[in-house]
Symmetry: C2
Subunit: 173 residues, 2 copies
DNA sequence: GTCTATAGGATGATAGAC
DNA sequence: GTCTATCATCCTATAGAC
């Protein structure tokens, strides 16, 4: 039995991911979830509380993905996993992922702190591999995966697939 | 004498760039411009019309910047101008630039077509310079400038400055 | 061109019954 | 937990006077 609270969360996630926070009313969310509007406020206090609940879920999902890279001990594997990460996101987590990018611009929620450990790990990996400017290489690769992710979300994974192969060859991993 | 129509455009640009299209009401725009709300609808028909007018201005500004690169005949200079472009945007055009990124996500206005001639030019330049995969190199560099632009808009130009030097050295331009 | 006033509807949020 | 009814506020847009 699917709880109504979860139906609200699922409907809100999809709507927020597709139309942004300010682009979706609680009325629309209630209708999409097949639930009365008042119930949203019972469960989440207000609209912002609903968003926070979804963001909490997103944070957990992201932490799992990042842990795979941060705990990796082989520097070449760190690069490999970083490059392939945008291409390995599950269909079921697609909306969580899109929401991150949407809110980063709409509400200027940066999520920069969450990326710092990843940047540090890349820095370490490039150093281990003998690159002369590991810090800059790390920032560059992070910028690349960021923009490739954006490309996947906007135009589909097929349009970026060839860049994965190209990057893996370029970094020899 | 500054026309009231321009005051509306200026105020709306700043507000849209900072809070997004759905995050700003015509009431707020009117107050920021020191103008009656009704005047907005006289001049621009509706809120969307106001946005379209601003987007028209933004398009013109962008076309000028891109023309500098597309008309360039020296392949090395094409790379140089592409890399330095995000760092050469005028303070006065900052809001236009930020608005592009905001709307790309909020309203899913891609602006992809506008970038195609730039991508073709980069493709040509990398080919001229003897790169074995000019198409992929072009897409990679475009992704990089896209993400560096994003970084400048979010965290300031200082935070990305060292990447400019690093990229110029990397591409030997 | 510009303002004031206002219509008509949507929005976030609450109260009370079941 | 859930729904219905409702409220005060805000929103886009229009009408009419100056």
């Amino acid at each position: 039995m699917i709880e109504r609270k979860d139906k609200i969360l699922t409907a809100a996630l999809e709507l927020f991911a597709n139309h942004g926070y300010n682009g979706v009313s609680t009325n629309k969310i209630a209708k999409a979830a097949g639930v009365s509007e008042g119930l949203i406020f019972r469960h989440f206090k207000n609209k912002q509380g609903l968003l926070d609940a979804i963001l909490g879920q997103a944070f957990e999902k992201a932490a799992v993905l990042y842990a795979h890279i941060i705990t990796e001990q082989d520097p070449k594997q760190v690069l490999y996993k970083t490059i392939t990460l945008p291409f390995s996101v599950e269909k079921s987590e697609y909306y969580f992922w899109k929401l991150q990018f949407k809110l980063k611009w709409e509400l200027e929620i940066s999520g920069k702190e969450k990326m710092q450990p990843l940047l540090d790990k890349l820095n370490w990996a490039f150093g281990e591999l003998g690159y002369t400017h590991p810090r800059e290489e790390a920032e560059l690769l992070q910028h690349l995966t960021e923009s490739i992710s954006s490309g996947i979300l906007k135009d589909g994974m097929e349009t970026q697939q060839h860049l994965k192969e190209f990057l893996l060859a370029k970094y020899k991993v």
